[in-house]
Amino acid sequence: MRGRLGTLLAASALVAATAGCGVLDAPPGPEVPAGCGECTSQVADLVSDLESSDSVRSVRSTRRQTTTDGYLGVAVDLAGKDVVSADLDALFDSVAEAAWRSGVTPLDTLSVVGTLRDGYGETVLYDFGADRTSFEDRWGKRPQGSEWTPVSEDDDDLEGCEVDGCHELMRGVAREASALPGVTAVVRSSYGRATPTNGSSADVDLMADDAVVVDDVVEQVAEIVWRSEVGPIDYISVKVETPNGGFPDVIDFQINPDHGRDHDRLEQMWGPRPAG
C-alpha cells in the first residue's frame, strides 16, 4: 500500500519538478516595491502621531504585510462615545490621513479597526493604491519617495454594498437600533459581502437589558435593515447579548428573494425592500 503511494508521490513529484515546481502554479501577481519593508520605525512614528491626536485614545495593534501589496492594519480606540454621537467619518479619516502622511511605503491598502468608548467597533478599508487620485485630492501627494504597487485589473463583478461596505448606511441602521427600547448599546453594524463559505449579510450586534424580549428586539432590528438600502443581502443577522442571558442569541433571517425562506414572510409584513 505504502509502496504504491510512494511510487505515486515520486512520479508526480518528478512531473512537478520537470515542469517547474507546481505545474499549475498561478501566474505571478504585481511586483511589490521594496519601500521600507516592515517599516518598523515609520510605523512606530505613525503610532506616536496617532496617540497624540485628539481622535485616538490609544493604538491597540498594527499589522504590516507586503506579500501582494503594501498593506497596513491599525487597530485603535477612538475618542468618540457611541455610534449615535460620534462623527465616525471624521474619526476614521483622521487615522487614515495620518497614515497617508506617514513614511510607511508602499501603502496601497490601509485597514482601520476603530472602537468607540461604548464598545461599538467597525473596520474601514482605504484602497489608497486603487483610488490614489481621489485621496491626493483630499490630502495632497504622499511624502517624497513613496512607492506604489501596480494596481492589477480587478474583474470582480461587484454591486451595491459589495463595493464599499456601505458604512454610512450601516451606521444609520445602528443609530436607529440604538433608539429601540431596552437596547443599551449597538456594538457592531457591518455589511459582509458573500464569501465562498457564506452569503452576503448585514450584521448587527447589540447589548440589551434583561427586561427585553429578545425576539421582539431582533425583529425590530431586522425591520430597520429591511427598510434600509443596504444590499444585496442574503442574511440579516442580529446578535443580542443581555447581562444575565448567557451565550448571546444570534438570529438569522434568510432574505434572498429567490430562495430565502424568510423573504416572503417579511415582505408580507414590511412590503418590498427598497431598490438599492
Partner: protein
C-alpha cells in the same frame, strides 16, 4: 441562530446508536454468552465434585434411596440431557452464531462498498470514453447551443444561466447520492485522462483502482504540494466572537460563524482561526475555504483549493500545519481540545484528529464539522468523538465521494434546509440551524455526544477564559 422552525433531521448514522455500535454491542453479547457458557461448564463440574464429596458419600448409607435420588437429580441438572453442560454448548453455539452474523454483516458492508467503488471508478472511465466517442455530436450540439445563446440579450443570457444553475441545484438537492457517485467516479475519469503516466493506481483505497482521493492527490502534486506556512497572532482582536462559554451545538456554530466573519470585514485577515479557553479545555474554531479558484490566485491564502486537494488526498497541508503551530504558540501543548470546523475547516479538523503527530501534542477529545467531506479520514481514534453535520443540497460534504464511516465515536447528522441554490446551501447560517435541530433532537447518538461534551467541560455556561486569534497564511 434561526428564525422560525428548525430544519428536519433526515438521518443520523454512526455514533453510540449506529450500526457499528450495534455490532460492538452484539459482540459484547457474544462475549457474555461465552462467559455464561464457561460458567455453566464450571458449575456442571461442580455438581460431579459435590456428588463425589467424601462426607456426602459416607452419609449415603444413612438414606441410600434419598442419596440415589439426589445423585440422579444433580447429575441430570449438570451433565444430563437438559443439564448445564448441554445448555453451555447451546449458548456457545449462540455466541458463535452471533459472531458469524456480525462477520457476515461486515463482509456484506465491505462488499457493498467495494462494489460501489468499482462501479463508480468504471463510471468515471466510461464518462471519458463516452465523451470522446460522442465528441463530434457534442461539438455540433454545443455549437448550435452557443449560436442560439449568442442571439439572446444579456438579460436573457443571465436568466438562462440562472435557470441552469437553479436546475442543477435542484437536481443536487433532490438526488445527492447521484452527485456523490459522480464525484466518486473522478478517479476513473482521471485514470483514463493520464493513462500513460500510470500515476493513479496507488491501491490504498478499498479497490485496486484510482479513487477520488487519488485524483485529489494528483491535483495537489501538480500544484506543487506546498505545505509551507506562516502563523501570526492577531493581537488584541476577538471580532464578533462571544466571551461566553458555548452551551450547545448551535452556540458552537455561532462562535465559528463569528470567526468566519473576520475576513468578511477585512479580506486581508484571511486564514484567521480562534482559540477559546473554557475552564482548562480549549475550543479551536476553524473556518473554511477563502480562495475557491481551482488554481490558487496569490500564493498567500492557506485556505485554498490546494489545501482542499491535499486534505481529500489524505496529505499534509499548510493550513493543518499552521493550525498546529498556532495551537502550540497559544500554549496548548498537552491540553485537551475540541476542534470545530466549517467546510475545509472541518476537513482539516478531522484530518488532524486522526494524525498521530498532532496527537503527540494535543488530546483531541471532540471534533465538530459542518458541511465538510470527512469520509477520506477512515478511522478516528477511540478517544476522539466527532459529530458531522451535512445539509441536503450542499455539494461540499459530498466531495469525498462516499458516506462517512460508521464508527461508534463518529456521528453523522444529515438535515434538510437546502434549496436549489448550491452555494447558499453551504452557508454557516444553515449549519447553525441544523445544529439547533440536533440540540432539540432526542436521537440517542446525538444526545450522547452532547452529554459527553457537557461532561468533558466544553459546553456549559458563564464567562469563558481568554479568546485569542491567529492568522495562518502560506
Amino acid at each position: 441562530m434561526t428564525s422560525g422552525t428548525l430544519p428536519p433531521i433526515e438521518s443520523v448514522s454512526g455514533g453510540s446508536h449506529g450500526v457499528e455500535a450495534g455490532y460492538e454491542q452484539m459482540l459484547a453479547l457474544a462475549e457474555r454468552y461465552e462467559r455464561q457458557a464457561g460458567d455453566f461448564v464450571e458449575m456442571a463440574g461442580l455438581g460431579a465434585r459435590i456428588m463425589a464429596n467424601g462426607d456426602l458419600l459416607e452419609s449415603a448409607i444413612l438414606s441410600p434411596i434419598s442419596f440415589g435420588d439426589a445423585e440422579v437429580q444433580v447429575l441430570d441438572a449438570t451433565t444430563g440431557a437438559n443439564g448445564l453442560t448441554v445448555r453451555a454448548i447451546g449458548i456457545e453455539a449462540d455466541a458463535l452464531g452471533v459472531r458469524a452474523v456480525i462477520a457476515a454483516f461486515k463482509a456484506s458492508d465491505s462488499l457493498s462498498r467495494h462494489a460501489m467503488e468499482m462501479l463508480d471508478n468504471a463510471l468515471g472511465q466510461l464518462l471519458l470514453a463516452g465523451t470522446v466517442a460522442a465528441l463530434p455530436a457534442l461539438l455540433a450540439a454545443g455549437g448550435i447551443s452557443y449560436a442560439y445563446y449568442s442571439t439572446l440579450s444579456p438579460e436573457e443570457q443571465e436568466a438562462l444561466k440562472a435557470q441552469l444553475a437553479e436546475d442543477l441545484g435542484q437536481l443536487l438537492h433532490d438526488h445527492p447520492e447521484l452527485a456523490q457517485h459522480l464525484i466518486n467516479g473522478g478517479g476513473g475519469l482521471l485514470q483514463n485522462l493520464v493513462p500513460g503516466l500510470g500515476l493513479l493506481n496507488p491501491g490504498d483505497g478499498p479497490i485496486n483502482q484510482a479513487t477520488t482521493n487519488d485524483a485529489a492527490r494528483l491535483l495537489s502534486l501538480l500544484l506543487g504540494n506546498d505545505t509551507d506556512y506562516q502563523v501570526n497572532p492577531i493581537a488584541d482582536f476577538t471580532g464578533g466572537a462571544s466571551n461566553e462559554v458555548p452551551g450547545s451545538l448551535s452556540d458552537l456554530m455561532k462562535q465559528l460563524d463569528a470567526t468566519n466573519q473576520i475576513d468578511q470585514d477585512d479580506p486581508r485577515l484571511h486564514g484567521a482561526i480562534q482559540i477559546q479557553q473554557v475552564g482548562d479545555k480549549y475550543i479551536v474554531y476553524i473556518p473554511g475555504t477563502d480562495d475557491m479558484s481551482p488554481i490558487p490566485q496569490d500564493g498567500e491564502h492557506a485556505r485554498d483549493m490546494e489545501t482542499n486537494y491535499q486534505l481529500i488526498g489524505g496529505m499534509d497541508s499548510a493550513y493543518g500545519r499552521g493550525i498546529q503551530q498556532a495551537m502550540l504558540d497559544a500554549g496548548l501543548e498537552g491540553k485537551d481540545v475540541m476542534l470545530v470546523g466549517h467546510s475545509q475547516g472541518g476537513m482539516v479538523s478531522t484530518s488532524l484528529a486522526a494524525d498521530p503527530e498532532f496527537a503527540r501534542h494535543f488530546n483531541v477529545e471532540h471534533v465538530v464539522t459542518a458541511g465538510s467531506p470527512t469520509a477520506q479520514v477512515t478511522h478516528l481514534p477511540d478517544s476522539t468523538h466527532a459529530i458531522h453535520f451535512e445539509n441536503r443540497g450542499d455539494a461540499v460534504p459530498l466531495l469525498d465521494g462516499e458516506d462517512n464511516p460508521d464508527q461508534p465515536n463518529r456521528t453523522t447528522v444529515k438535515f434538510d434546509e437546502g434549496s436549489s441554490d448550491i452555494g447558499d446551501n453551504h452557508g454557516l447560517g444553515h449549519y447553525a440551524n441544523g445544529a439547533a435541530a440536533a440540540d432539540a433532537s432526542t436521537n440517542g447518538s446525538i444526545q450522547d455526544e452532547i452529554t459527553r461534551m457537557h461532561d468533558d467541560g466544553y459546553l456549559g455556561s458563564g464567562t469563558s477564559g481568554p479568546l485569542v486569534s491567529y492568522q495562518v497564511t502560506r
